[in-house]
Symmetry: C2
Subunit: 337 residues, 2 copies
Amino acid sequence: MAVTIKDVARKAGVSISTVSRVINESKPVSPEARRKVIKAIDELGYRPNEIARSLVTKKSNVIGVIVDDIGSSYVAQIVRGIEEVGHMYNYDILLCSTYGDKEAEERFTQLLLQKQVAAIILLSEIYNEEVISYLKYASIPFVYLNKYYNVLESPTVRINNYLASKKVMDYLIKCGHKNIAYVTQEKDIELTVEKHKLQAYKDSMNELKQPQTIYKIDGHTITKGYEFGKKIEKDIRTNKITAVFCCDDEIAIGLINYCYDNDIKVPDAVSIVGYGNISIASYIRPKLTTIMEPYYDIGAVSVRKLSKILNNEKPEEETIELPVQLIVRDSVKDLDI
Amino acid sequence: MAVTIKDVARKAGVSISTVSRVINESKPVSPEARRKVIKAIDELGYRPNEIARSLVTKKSNVIGVIVDDIGSSYVAQIVRGIEEVGHMYNYDILLCSTYGDKEAEERFTQLLLQKQVAAIILLSEIYNEEVISYLKYASIPFVYLNKYYNVLESPTVRINNYLASKKVMDYLIKCGHKNIAYVTQEKDIELTVEKHKLQAYKDSMNELKQPQTIYKIDGHTITKGYEFGKKIEKDIRTNKITAVFCCDDEIAIGLINYCYDNDIKVPDAVSIVGYGNISIASYIRPKLTTIMEPYYDIGAVSVRKLSKILNNEKPEEETIELPVQLIVRDSVKDLDI
DNA sequence: ATGAAAGCGCTAACAT
DNA sequence: ATGTTAGCGCTTTCAT
């Protein structure tokens, strides 16, 4: 049987209140009593039961984290930020993965609520307004993270996608590219960040007075990017385009692999830029030039935001925007050289 | 204020016991009362407080998971297995990362114990006997996972590293390679799985009646593998070796990248084999031939093992060995063709 | 400074 | 079948 506060009290010859006071340093205790209590705790190897504790305090110092798939590398990086900074603020992490299941998001939200988590971070990849309404209704502090969709008004931490895409376009143009293609997504452009990224592309091409070449693909995987290679191959070989700006690192990497397998030299025959800076980006060859989404920081800032709310500090703006950086590597050729 | 079992009882006009009975289906309840209770639960949006529940039942259906770094891809895969199968068995996951800190392993173990987790899965990369002793002393069901070290006797799920290495060597030899090098680790060979992997290499080379070429490097990162390229470059160019068996995918990938950057064709100039099958392995070019460590399954089987223990089912063998597979891709050349 | 006692929300005897 | 009650391990009034 686990040792309880009673055992400590008995052994120390004091009341359980006194024991409670010394472990919480909540009220003054005589040095004499404190000494005895500490001794008893030591000898018995006593550790307060956090469950009992949070039942009475109604606080849990647990943050519920619902992600799409912890096996996904950017998700793991965000969770790393949540976890590491969370522990600095003394929060523990209760983790659930939904694997894109809409119902699971709501089910896990309920579950976490039942577990009395102090706050929730929901990292989603789908469009799901209900879960946000539910979260608001449950009036639990939360942060909603979604790489793709702009869902409702909700507290979130993200980057400015328009500015990020502009950065890419400016760089490509600086490198002398004129025939630049953009690879976007087929679905829900109006609802997703693609809306802003695409706008940045269009604005840039207009300024450049060049025709737009827009490809749409369905999905964010390396495999999809690879398959996409077949579609774009001709346009590359005929020099209709000299640079491809992919909405996703995965797609860019798939495309690079397709080029490698089909003897199209990157960046000599075609320049490729990604978006995200997932970890593989620097390991494939050529190394991928891309926009760095600060995943770790997104996680870190999310916890910090929640921590502030939980401590009733001054409420922040709902949306926090983090700076982005263009990571210049080897997948873009400077045509002026 | 959250709605409690009392509110439901009052609203339904029954006692709290009756409410408890219907939500737990623990004892028969008249259809009439059940109906009223369910109605009240619905109307109030009541959800039982899991904290209160586990305080009295002394069960928590939470599994504490301590990992080295959730940002590491194989770790994320194991956690994915734990998480997904865990939820099937109705367990939630409380996650902590140690980042290789020995003290953190023990601190988090204590923390999880205080949180009354039902069991612990410890995924470590260091040698730390104390934490195992502590886990045993705390008499909590646990599984100890360590990719590198063979630490003490402890319940674990792993692969047979000798057999896995043998598989690689057999394949390399089948492909006509004779001058095969093995890249192992500098540190703690006797304490780690390298002991068995190296033995398999030696046995194979002896059978082949070929001299052994063993390199030692310190670390498991892609960067280390890249740096190692400089050391081995001459031996490749002089054809002293035609194939390199790396103890780690990361090292193999680093080496492949070094070769790419220095115009050494893989696999034409040198064949390279990895170990682990991390996700990047199939995305780099050439695709890496490697041993697949079934990370997801290791996580999945670990939970299943714990679940059995927690349900007092027949105790299993302490060590579970999972099958390995050689994934043949493009980084090995068949010399006979 | 300390102890007694109430009570957090719930389950599980124990009664009826 | 249902209600009453004790108590899980703890914090926190409220007395003293």
